[in-house]
């Protein structure tokens, strides 16, 4: 049986508060076993097989009456659970300890608050602002930020490989970076706040994408040249789909470093870079 959820604006009034919802430990999803076509007596079985190999999407699953088959339905539920777990998960303390980063947090008080109030995830908390002023590196070419975004598992899985690859790729192109930052409960826009505060010439934020069915492990890199608050997305570049089944962290790091080199040379990014 599921528990009653109390809205946040009443939480402090509740006499017998429900125990806080536990954040489930996230296991990396196993790659889907190659599904068998569910279409009975297909007209062109060879094409069906090609179609299914071309996409992880749910195609040619067959049906019973107007409904899904049980197997399709269960896979769907499982994939949906992966997405929901990813949204609720948080960056583990172990990961935070292994990365040599300045730790900051947005203005959000907890995960539920973060999910409901996107704007608060785009600004640093007052305490983090002070910490960054003391511990952050100023006036670098590129400030690297790692963050949870909407799927902490994406950083958990891809972050440890991406950070050294990215640092090395930038160094190889003569771009200075300074000390990286690890941000919790962060949206893409947090890079603007950090970039302006530290006076960086550009920022990159590597964070978990909004999960889809079965994909809670996909990381994106957003590049912003010439940081300013609430910078338009059209002025940023994004490298997405960094995950075991997609782009490798190393390839993504090289691509990002190339774009940054060009962006810094031209002094502009986003659509103007293309």
């Amino acid at each position: 049986m599921s528990q009653r959820r109390i809205p946040a604006f009443l939480e402090d009034l509740i006499a017998t508060p429900d125990s806080k919802r536990l954040v489930s430990a996230y296991d990396a999803p196993a790659p889907p076993a190659h599904p068998t076509p569910g279409v009975e007596a297909p007209h062109n079985p060879a094409f069906l097989e090609r179609l299914m190999k071309a996409t992880p999407s749910r195609v040619a699953t067959g049906r019973t009456g107007t409904r899904y088959r049980t197997a399709t339905y269960l896979t769907l539920r499982g994939d949906h659970a992966i997405a929901k777990d990813a949204v609720e998960a948080e960056i583990s303390d172990e990961l935070a300890a292994t990365l040599d980063c300045v730790h900051v947090v947005s203005r959000c008080s907890d995960r539920a608050h973060y999910l409901l109030h996107p704007n608060e995830g785009r600004r640093l908390s007052d305490e983090s602002r002070r910490r960054l002023e003391q511990e952050g590196t100023r006036d670098v070419d590129v400030q690297v930020i790692l963050a949870d975004g909407l799927a902490a598992p994406a950083l958990q899985i891809n972050g440890p490989r991406l950070l050294p690859a990215l640092t090395e790729a930038l160094r190889a192109r003569g771009i200075s970076t300074g000390r990286p930052i690890l941000a919790k409960m962060a949206r893409v826009g947090l890079q603007d706040d950090i970039g302006v505060l530290l006076g960086a010439r550009a920022t990159v934020i590597c964070l978990g994408e909004r999960p889809g069915l079965g994909t809670g492990d996909s990381l994106s890199i957003y590049l912003a040249i010439g940081p300013k608050l609430d910078q338009d997305n059209a002025e940023k570049n994004c490298i997405s789909n960094i995950r075991p089944q997609g782009l490798s962290p190393e390839a993504a790091a090289d691509g990002a470093a190339d774009l940054l080199r060009r962006g810094l040379d031209l002094g502009r990014g986003g659509l103007d870079l293309v």
Partner: protein
């Protein structure tokens, strides 16, 4: 003053496929479009209105009938009456099933009245993140827009609504003046989600203040003081 949630209870739930045409006509239901019906009674009318609305987001159903009963569930006509009958209509029974499950789950997890710990007035400081097709139409707002749904007994709701409306950038889009069927009062409010949440909190605080000091307004005029 602390509060406790009052869990709503579904008292009866039945399907009614292929209902008699004259009965459907009498209930104002379009027989051609809604051959399948799902009927629910609940001991909290406002919770069920919200749950029925919630169901329209999960299945191809429309709320065909929803009315509160006189004097509320403490004075119900029978063990399965509660204080509301809601009827959902669909073109086929699968949608009714989906809708009923969605409504039951919402009642179990998200929708409820509250009361002060140890007893007191029951009140409903509910905020809907995204309205469905039913309540949005009732409130005259766009489907999918957030809505505040604030209900309490007569004096609590009047004081509470005033506090809510002054606390944030929200608008009263529909008012239910007491006496209603259940003798509660309240209204629907529109605005941004965060503003509605702030308003719901202000409504709650005001209701609790009335419950704590119901006679606070009875003060002796200055010329009678000696």
């Amino acid at each position: 003053m602390r509060i406790v949630p009052l869990a709503p209870k579904i008292l009866a739930c039945r399907e009614l496929p292929a209902a008699d045409a004259s009965l459907l006509r009498a209930l104002g239901i379009d027989i051609d479009r809604f051959g399948s019906l799902g009927l629910l009674t609940c001991d909290q009318d406002d919770s069920l209105y919200v749950a029925l609305d919630h169901a329209t987001k999960f299945a191809e159903v429309e709320v065909q009938f929803a009315k509160s009963f006189y004097a509320g569930s403490a004075h119900a006509s029978g063990p399965f009456s509660g204080e509301i009958l809601g009827i959902l209509g669909a073109s086929e029974p699968d949608s009714i099933q989906e809708a009923l499950i969605a409504a039951a789950r919402a009642l179990e997890e998200d929708i409820c009245f509250y009361e002060p710990e140890g007893g007191g007035p029951a009140f409903f400081p509910h905020v809907i993140g995204e309205t469905g097709r039913y309540l949005s139409a009732q409130a005259g707002i766009e489907a999918g827009a957030p809505m505040g749904y604030f209900i309490a007994p007569p004096i609590e709701s009047t004081i509470g609504l005033d506090a809510a409306l002054k606390s944030a950038d929200v608008k009263l889009v529909r008012h239910f003046a007491p006496p209603t069927e259940t003798n509660f009062g309240g209204g629907y409010l529109s605005g941004e989600l965060h503003a509605l949440e702030a308003a719901a909190r202000a409504f709650t605080d005001a209701v609790l203040d009335v419950a704590d000091k119901p006679m606070a307004g009875m003060r002796r005029p200055s010329h009678m003081r000696w």
